[in-house]
Symmetry: D4
Subunit: 168 residues, 8 copies
């Protein structure tokens, strides 16, 4: 999956089993019309590919990287180690520790190499955060974000009305 326009956001995940969660990021980027690329990169099983991906990200035109992984989730951190682009980390929920392991492995980075961590399984927010970052230098995206926030607000108001009216 990859948009025809030159991708600005790279979505990588440690395993293809993370795809169902990460589809939320894809949908959100598409809703904002942000070109992206998506693929599997494993910090542990394809370490050279991970290095290659991170090191060439800037020259390939990427501006933000979203990296998702579970368990001892090193993908985001390892990527952040090899690029100066902002890296957004999505800790994937795990069967045993519910993603608490993924969260700690992603967020507790040492001084010098930050990972912008979102909630466990927070793929949608990872995409929105990427858009917010891109919007700093993109007026049209900025407008879309304003509209998005308005829509979020309106949807809640609608639900509120229904609940107040006893319809839900």
């Amino acid at each position: 999956m990859e948009t025809s326009e030159k991708p600005q956001v790279g979505i990588i995940m440690g395993s293809d089993s993370d795809l169902p969660v990460m589809q939320d990021a894809v949908k959100q980027l598409e809703a904002f019309g942000v070109p992206y690329e998506i693929t599997v990169v494993s910090a542990h099983r394809t370490p050279d590919r991970a290095a290659e991906y991170a090191k060439t990200a800037i020259e390939r035109g990427l501006k933000v990287i979203i990296a998702a992984a579970g368990g001892a989730a090193h993908l985001a951190g390892v990527t952040a180690a090899m690029t100066t682009l902002p890296v957004i980390g999505v800790p994937i929920k795990t069967e045993t520790l519910n993603g608490m392991d993924s969260l700690y492995s992603t967020v507790q980075m040492p001084p010098g190499v930050p990972v912008a961590t979102v909630a466990i399984n927070g793929a949608k927010n990872a995409a929105i955060l990427a858009v917010q970052i891109l919007a700093i230098a993109d007026e049209s995206l900025k407008q879309k974000l304003v509209q998005y926030k308005k829509d979020l607000n309106d949807k809640v108001l609608e639900k509120a009305k229904k609940m107040e009216g006893g319809q839900i």
Copy 2:
């Protein structure tokens, strides 16, 4: 504290007792020459000010907000609710739960409103992340980040040499 240039990064914290931790962010932004402003904004004790701060952030020229808070740490989330700027959250270590409460309160945001969370007390990384975000549209910052990464690397090599030589 505020740089004479128009601030691009706003650093806010829930209490002035968070300042010792947040000084690391200040130092790092200064090292990168990024203009910033810094103040106290409490989501719980000055809610109107928090709303005002977030809502006027864009028109005041801010591009990224760093928000630090401890315990039921709502500052970053509440700020993110009222601006489309990227908001970086710094969970402050607490005396009772060591910052696990701050971390969960900051990172576990609902779909639609992300907070880019860094490590507990990770003020330095918050600043670097802010620089990385600004660098997307700022070639000079990009170069500084490349140099910063190189310096990080070199400092470790130097330490490695010393350790290998039995000097530490």
Copy 3:
């Protein structure tokens, strides 16, 4: 949903998906004959509405607010920041951290702005606590609470009898 009498208790929740849990609060208030209102208010998606709701609560005649939210659960805290009414927080169970995140975000409030927190998903107890608060100045409610406690006791005795008799 709203009682015809002027509401004394306001039930708000961060998402309509919290309604199944919060129905327990509704039922309990109805059982005590306490007029209430119920709606959706999101601290993150409708921050202005949240402020408005909290700030007008007293003049609209509310005496207690019950606020339910999950994850980085800011609704109760944000509401408490903007009213002097007692605010009862219900941490909603989450899929990833089981509500431990909601609990910490709700209960670990900073000095000056308390939230009266009940158990994770403790909607029923939130309602009873609201009734206990109202009963301080309402003799009839006080009597109902005495009866409620007696009924609780009797139901257990009945179960105990059955178990002792080998019927369950």
Copy 4:
């Protein structure tokens, strides 16, 4: 310690070693001019006294009870079991589990018997919550709370000014 006026708030703690923490509640009640009584009641070492205290609370004129305990912190729950008054629980920080044990023991009450739980060591907030509860039927307290909230706000603004001015 006990005010000369008839106490409206009863502060009890499981051990006199909790007093340093609970002094914050005392000071806050005194600041609001709310008459209180304070004593040691142990759910485990003086169970009869605990029952007696809870059962006679209403007739002795108490309107709210603040109960503090650490570890397997049963005092608040046991008190709530024997009175219809609202009971505010203060989980005390422990040496081994940092108060996580106290928090869970206090907040996770079963349906029917709520405890209004505040933060670990949150004695000050317990007092404010008690005042908020009393203020429902006490206009003068209501005004004091409005003032208190204003003061909280002003103190932060003052700190903010200082920080912005580089004085702290």
Copy 5:
């Protein structure tokens, strides 16, 4: 349910919903031929009954009490407060915190009032522990325990044989 012989072990639980778990204790006591009684006693909904149960336990001939409860699990501790008999606590698994709350509420008792805590949902072991305690002064039970340990051992050996033989 109650054996015809004078009960030596009292099994109490906070709710009849704990019965499926506690049946394991019943079965185990029956297997050892230890007379028991079983009933519901809630520390929170029937506090007087809880006190009564604990205070009369010795004169009614009980020698050990097994108390099971979930969440803010006070039953074992409250019982231990009012009897000098050994009280065995069974923390019941909860839907939200998996029984971690029950465990902490049961085991973290203050100096002076111990509860002999077994594993979360460890009803079977509670019964065996009760038997071990009774066996100190009962030679016939001691023999049965020796046999029980031998049977445990033999069952594992049998399983081991099967697994080594590839039958499982």
Copy 6:
């Protein structure tokens, strides 16, 4: 350390560094006049000695064993595996996980082999529990326990009086 009378309680600990904590058990047993023995037995460093200790405990006249260990705390469980005596486990606080590791390693025993677990560092309660167990068949100990409970109660009353009188 060993009483001249034939020991009824054996206190063992995984390391002599646990002695400061376990002194509380010693003092308590001495206060009750219960003969005991105390030594170091490591499940990991002296496994044969651990087996020997457990297997000969009954014939040496022991009636209860108190086993203390920290970290992957196997001593109590391993002892319980090799004797039919009741084994009381004391999880020792650790530097890294505060004793949460010791607690889980001690209490979460599999069906068939219980360990009567007390609080983290709960050496005093381990001794009292041992006394309660011995008291089942020892009328004089039973009387001492009744007195002990009365003293506990009285000491709290005294503290309560002082606090009510403003003396503490």
Copy 7:
């Protein structure tokens, strides 16, 4: 189950209910052609057998032991106490604490007696680790590991290609 060749790896588990998880270890060892034996050994129900197994392991030709257990998981530690062979511990996921208890009981060993711990339910990795250990002195295994790593890499690349092509 046991290979015809003299086993080099011994797989033991605390209960036959752990077999479904441990089959992953079996499959992996078979894939590498490493002879193994597999059986049930319970540290708590068959302590003598556990001692026997560990003490005779070397003379029976074993070079590595994989020990799996859940809850208060002592099997790996107890085995490590009685052999100088490297012992790999597999913490088994539990129903109540999700294997956090098993993990702490396995990994937090005291100085002097290490257990090489892998992830909760990480049976496959236990086998690979065993192979890595054997490969130190076995050139053919070393080659197989190189190939295995290459295959891991290639499988990810294939998945990546598919995802990039929009086929998954």
Copy 8:
């Protein structure tokens, strides 16, 4: 620091601040006479060096790698990704989460890439585990391990004697 003989064990750590903890590993390897090398390698600050170190480890003659790191501790995992040697991970205690983050980041590795994890700050055991692994093919080391275990045992016996004699 490096032994004159060709190193068989490589000790790497993410920061020179980990050295005080890792000295225990050094001492232990020296006690066993195992040649080693020690240096700083940061997965995040010197990713190329980390790759280089891991990839050349075998040809440089290393047989086991010990990798220590704290927080989002990726060093051991990243190293394991790039060598077929057994990698032992030492989770370093952290100031905020006490090393729980380091532990999860180190042990929860995905299938295919194991890390042999020891206790938090368990540097000594990491060294012993390395020796156990080397001893498989080194009869002299095997003998030393047998002696080491005997010494461990004897030291405890000595302590036990002293404690029994009341000398400690």
